[in-house]
C-alpha cells in the first residue's frame, strides 16, 4: 500500500440522514487520511453509529456523496462495501461461536485444495491464520472455538478477519466499552500493528483518554452536525469535551460524601460451585460500594447470585437486618433489590417495545387500579425520568431499538430507578454513555444514597470506581481479595489485588 501520509482515503461530502422525527446526520462533510487512526466522538445520539452504518452500506444516505479511495461510492450495500475494503467491527460481535478462530477468519473465503473442488485446505488455512496472528503479535490458539474466548479476544479475531479480507479501512464502534483496561491495552497494541500495515482505522469511543492516546486526528459530532476535526496534538481531553457538549465539565466525578447509615445488605459465605467462593460483604445505606476487578473476576456473578438470576449453592443474605430467601429475580425485587445488568440488549431491554413499556416493566402491577393499567400515569412518570436523564428520543412511545446505544442504556437506568428499591446494584452502568450523561448518572446515584438507599457499582473503569465509591471491594477468581476506603485506594493497589497477589500485605483483607 503505497499511499502517502497525507492522501485522503475517505471523503464525505454533505451527507444527510433522516429518521422519522430525527435528523441523525445534518450535512456532514469530513475527510479521513490514509494510514491514520481517526477518532470519532460525540454525545449519545450525535450520529456516530449512523455515520458508520452509512459507510458500511447498512443505511442509505438521504443526501450527499461518499468518496473512498478516489472513487465515488453509490448505492452502497454491505457486500459492496466489504468488496471495496471497508470492514466494520460492531459492538455486538458477529463471530460464529461454535466455529474455531481459523474457521471464523476464513468464513466465506475458505481456501480449497483445488480450484474447482470443494475440499478445504485446513493445513494451509491454519498456517495462514497463524502467520497473520504472528504479524499482529496476537497470542492465541487459532484452533479454539471463538465462543470459548473472552470478549476482548473475540474482538481481536474480528480484527484478524478484517485484516485478512484486505480491508483498507477498519471501523470500530465503541470497541473498548466492554473491555477491561488490560484487554483495551492489548487492543491498542493490535491497532498499532494494523496501522503499521497501512490500514486506516476509524475509532469510536466515549473514553476520551483513549482517543487522545491512540488517534492521529479526531472528529467531533454534535446533534448530527460536524463540529470540528482536529489533529490530536491540538486537542486536549477538555477541548474535546467542550466541543462535544458545548460547555466545560469541571468535575467528572461529582462525589458527595454522605454519612454511612444502617446496614442495608449483608451477604455471608455466598457459594456457587466453580464460580464464587465464600463471598461475604456488607453494604450500607447512604454509601456507594464499588466492586473492582478484572473482567471475569466474579463480580457480575456475585450480583447475579444475590439477586436470584443464578442459583446458589450456599450462603445467607440479609436485607436491612432481615433474613431473606431469594430464589428468583422476582424475590429479589420484592426484597427491595434492583439489579441493572451489564448486557442491555440481551438482558436489560425489550428492544421492540417502547421507552415507557420498558421503563415501567418492573412491578407493573403497582401502576394499576382495579386490575387496569393507569396508562397516563405510566407515561407521565416515564416522561419525568426521561427528562431527568436527558434521554434523547422523539417521545416516550418510541421503540427502544431505534435509540442510540447510550440512550438505550439510559432507559435501563430509568427502568431500575423507577422501582423505588432500597438497594441498587449497577453492573457497568455507564457503559456507552457520553461524558456529560455520565455526570447525570452519578448525580442520580448521589441522590439515591442521600435518600437512604445503598448503591453498589460494578465497573471496570478504574477512575470511575475510585471517583464514586466510598468503599471498594476487589475480586479475583470468585473471591474478595481486598477492601479499601476511598482514601486508601490507588490504581496500583487495586490492580495488585485484582490479579490475586494481595493475599497478604496490601490492603485490608475483607
Amino acid at each position: 500500500m503505497a499511499m502517502g501520509k497525507n492522501e485522503m482515503l475517505l471523503r464525505l461530502d454533505r451527507v444527510t440522514k433522516r429518521f422519522p422525527g430525527v435528523l441523525a446526520l445534518d450535512s456532514v462533510s469530513m475527510e479521513v487520511r490514509a494510514g491514520d487512526v481517526h477518532g470519532l466522538t460525540g454525545e449519545n445520539g450525535a450520529g456516530k453509529s449512523t455515520l458508520i452504518k452509512i459507510l458500511t452500506g447498512a443505511y442509505a444516505p438521504d443526501e450527499g456523496e461518499i468518496w473512498f479511495n478516489g472513487e465515488k461510492l453509490e448505492r452502497l450495500t454491505p457486500l459492496k462495501a466489504m468488496g471495496k475494503g471497508i470492514a466494520c467491527i460492531y459492538q455486538e460481535l458477529n463471530l460464529i461461536p461454535h466455529l474455531t478462530v481459523v474457521e471464523n477468519i476464513f468464513l466465506g473465503r475458505e481456501l480449497r485444495k483445488s480450484r474447482r473442488g470443494d475440499i478445504l485446505d485446513r493445513a494451509k488455512m491454519l498456517e495462514e491464520a497463524e502467520s497473520l496472528m504472528r504479524d499482529l503479535a496476537l497470542n492465541l490458539d487459532p484452533r479454539m472455538k471463538t465462543g470459548e474466548l473472552g470478549i476482548g479476544h473475540q474482538q481481536m479475531v474480528e480484527i484478524c478477519k478484517a485484516v485478512h479480507s484486505d480491508a483498507k479501512l477498519i471501523i470500530m464502534d465503541e470497541p473498548t466499552s466492554s473491555l477491561s483496561e488490560r484487554e483495551a491495552n492489548d487492543l491498542f497494541r493490535i491497532i498499532a500493528q494494523v496501522k503499521a500495515k497501512g490500514v486506516t482505522v476509524i475509532f469510536i469511543s466515549h473514553r476520551l483518554d483513549e482517543v487522545k492516546r491512540i488517534c492521529d486526528r479526531v472528529t467531533v459530532l454534535r446533534d448530527g452536525r460536524l463540529v470540528e476535526t482536529r489533529d490530536i496534538g491540538e486537542a486536549s481531553v477538555d477541548d474535546i469535551i467542550r466541543l462535544m457538549v458545548g460547555r466545560e465539565i469541571t468535575n467528572k466525578y461529582p462525589k458527595v460524601k454522605g454519612g454511612r447509615g444502617a446496614e442495608a445488605l449483608s451477604v455471608e459465605h455466598l457459594e456457587r460451585r466453580g464460580v464464587l467462593h465464600d463471598v461475604s460483604f456488607k453494604a450500607y445505606a447512604g454509601e456507594i460500594l464499588g466492586f473492582a476487578g478484572l473482567v471475569g473476576a466474579g463480580r457480575t456473578e456475585t450480583a447475579r447470585a444475590i439477586t436470584g438470576a443464578d442459583p446458589i449453592d450456599g450462603g445467607a443474605i440479609k436485607v436491612f437486618g432481615q433474613d431473606v430467601r431469594i430464589r428468583s429475580p422476582r424475590d429479589s425485587i420484592d426484597a427491595g433489590i434492583a439489579f441493572l445488568t451489564e448486557d442491555r440488549k440481551g438482558q436489560g431491554l425489550i428492544l421492540i417495545k417502547s421507552v415507557s413499556f420498558n421503563s415501567s416493566l418492573v412491578r407493573l402491577e403497582r401502576y394499576s387500579r382495579l386490575g387496569f393499567l393507569k396508562l397516563k400515569a405510566i407515561r407521565q412518570m416515564t416522561e419525568k425520568i426521561a427528562r431527568d436523564l436527558k434521554l434523547r428520543a422523539p417521545d416516550v412511545e418510541t421503540v427502544v431499538g431505534q435509540l442510540s446505544g447510550g440512550n438505550q442504556q439510559k432507559v435501563v437506568i430509568a427502568k431500575w430507578m423507577l422501582t423505588q428499591a432500597r438497594i441498587f446494584i449497577f453492573d457497568e452502568p455507564t457503559r456507552g454513555i457520553d461524558v456529560g450523561a455520565k455526570v447525570e448518572v452519578y448525580n442520580l446515584m448521589n441522590e439515591l444514597v442521600a435518600n437512604g438507599a445503598a448503591v453498589i457499582i460494578i465497573c471496570s473503569e478504574m477512575d470511575e470506581v475510585m471517583g464514586m465509591a466510598d468503599r471498594i471491594l476487589v475480586m479475583h477468581e470468585g473471591r474478595i481479595t481486598a477492601e479499601f476506603g476511598q482514601a486508601e485506594a490507588t490504581q496500583e493497589r487495586i490492580l495488585y489485588a485484582a490479579s490475586g497477589l494481595a493475599a497478604s500485605g496490601e490492603g485490608k483483607i475483607a
Binding site: G57, A58, E158, F339, Q347, K353, F357, L361, L364, Q402
Partner: protein, 333 residues
C-alpha cells in the same frame, strides 16, 4: 458477513416504526375489502344476507381459535394442537352429555376445563420439562389428543345434543348468529387484557425478550403456562360453537383449524419472533380466510384447490410485507 446481519438488523429496526404499524392495519383491512369486492363481482350470491351470515358463523369458530393462537405466537411460540384439543374436548363433552345424560351445562364446563387442562399440559411441557420449543410439545399433544379422541368412541361421531349446547352455535339474534356476539365479546376482553393489564403486557414482554423479562421480575413460566392454557380453552370454546352448529361432535373435527388459525394470525401481521402483533388485525386475518374459503365454495372450486389457494395467500401476504419493507428502504436512498 457482519455487514449483512447488521443490515438485516437495520431492516428490522425500520420495521418497528410506529406509522408502519398503522399502515399494516390499513393494508389488511384494504385487502379484506378488495377480496370481498372481487368475490361480490364473481359471484352474485356472495353479498346475500344468507351467505354473509354463513360466512360469519363459519368465521366464528376460526376466530375463537385464532385468539389463543395469537397469544401463543405473541410469546414467540406456536400451538399446533388446537384442532385436536377441540376434537378431544368436544368428544368428551359428547360422551358425558349425550351417552351418559350428564347436565348439558356441566358438560360444557367439562369441555372447557379439558381444553384448558390440555393447554396447561402444553405449557408445562415447555416450562417444567423444558422441551426446547412448543413446536415439539404441541405437535406431540396434537397427535396424542387426536388419538384419544378417536379411541373413545372407536372413531364414531356423537350426535343430537340437547338445546343448551346448541344454543351458541345454532341460534340467531335477528339476522346475526349468536356466535358473532361471543366472538365480539371475546375479542373485546382480549383487547383490554392485552393492552390494559399488567399480565397482558407481560405476554408481550416475554415474547420480546424472555431473559430480560425474567430479570425484570416477570414470572415467565407462569405467563407461558397461562398463554397455552388460554389457547386450549379457546379451542374448546370454539368446539362448543362448532358442535352447536352441526349438532354433532366428530373425532376428526377441526383438522384444518390449526393451519387456518396460524394463517389468520400471520396475515394479521403478528411476528413469528414474538412480541409484535395486534389482536384487532388477527380478526381481519380470520375474515380474509373465511371470505376466501366461502368465495371459492360459491364458485364451486374443489376443496383441494382451496387448500392450495390459502397456502398461496399466506406466502403472498408475508411476501408483500417483505416487499414493502424493501420499498421503504429504497425510498430512503
Amino acid at each position: 458477513m457482519a455487514h449483512e446481519r447488521e443490515a438485516a438488523a437495520a431492516g428490522q429496526e425500520a420495521k418497528k416504526q410506529k406509522p408502519r404499524k398503522n399502515m399494516y392495519s390499513v393494508g389488511v383491512i384494504l385487502s379484506l375489502i378488495l377480496l370481498s369486492l372481487v368475490m361480490a363481482v364473481l359471484s352474485p350470491r356472495f353479498l346475500t344476507v344468507d351467505n354473509l351470515t354463513n360466512v360469519a358463523s363459519q368465521a366464528a369458530v376460526s376466530a375463537i381459535i385464532s385468539c389463543g393462537m395469537f397469544l401463543a405466537i405473541l410469546t414467540g411460540g406456536i400451538d399446533l394442537s388446537v384442532g385436536s384439543v377441540l376434537a378431544l374436548s368436544t368428544m368428551l363433552m359428547g360422551v358425558v352429555c349425550v351417552n351418559h345424560g350428564v347436565d348439558p351445562y356441566l358438560s360444557m364446563l367439562l369441555c372447557l376445563a379439558v381444553g384448558g387442562g390440555l393447554g396447561l399440559l402444553n405449557g408445562l411441557m415447555l416450562t417444567k420439562m423444558s422441551l426446547p420449543h412448543p413446536f415439539i410439545s404441541t405437535m406431540g399433544m396434537k397427535m396424542m389428543a387426536r388419538g384419544v379422541a378417536l379411541v373413545i368412541t372407536a372413531a364414531a361421531p356423537i350426535s343430537i345434543f340437547p338445546e343448551p349446547v346448541q344454543f351458541i352455535g345454532n341460534n340467531y339474534l335477528g339476522p346475526l348468529p349468536i356466535s358473532l356476539f361471543l366472538v365480539a365479546l371475546l375479542y373485546a376482553c382480549m383487547y383490554l387484557f392485552l393492552t390494559r393489564t399488567a399480565t397482558g403486557r407481560y405476554i408481550y414482554a416475554v415474547g420480546g425478550n424472555k431473559e430480560a423479562s425474567r430479570l425484570s421480575g416477570i414470572k415467565v413460566h407462569r405467563v407461558l403456562n397461562l398463554v397455552y392454557t388460554l389457547s386450549g380453552f379457546t379451542a374448546a370454546l370454539a368446539g362448543i360453537v362448532l358442535v352447536g352448529r352441526v349438532n354433532a361432535a366428530y373425532p376428526l373435527a377441526g383438522q384444518d383449524y390449526d393451519s387456518d388459525a396460524i394463517a389468520a394470525v400471520i396475515i394479521g401481521g403478528a411476528s413469528f419472533f414474538g412480541g409484535v402483533g395486534s389482536i384487532g388485525n388477527t380478526i381481519i386475518g380470520v375474515l380474509i380466510i373465511a371470505v376466501l374459503r366461502n368465495g371459492l365454495n360459491l364458485l364451486n372450486v374443489d376443496s383441494n384447490y382451496q387448500t392450495f389457494a390459502i397456502g398461496a395467500v399466506i406466502i403472498l401476504a408475508v411476501y408483500i410485507d417483505v416487499l414493502r419493507q424493501k420499498v421503504m428502504q429504497v425510498g430512503r436512498r
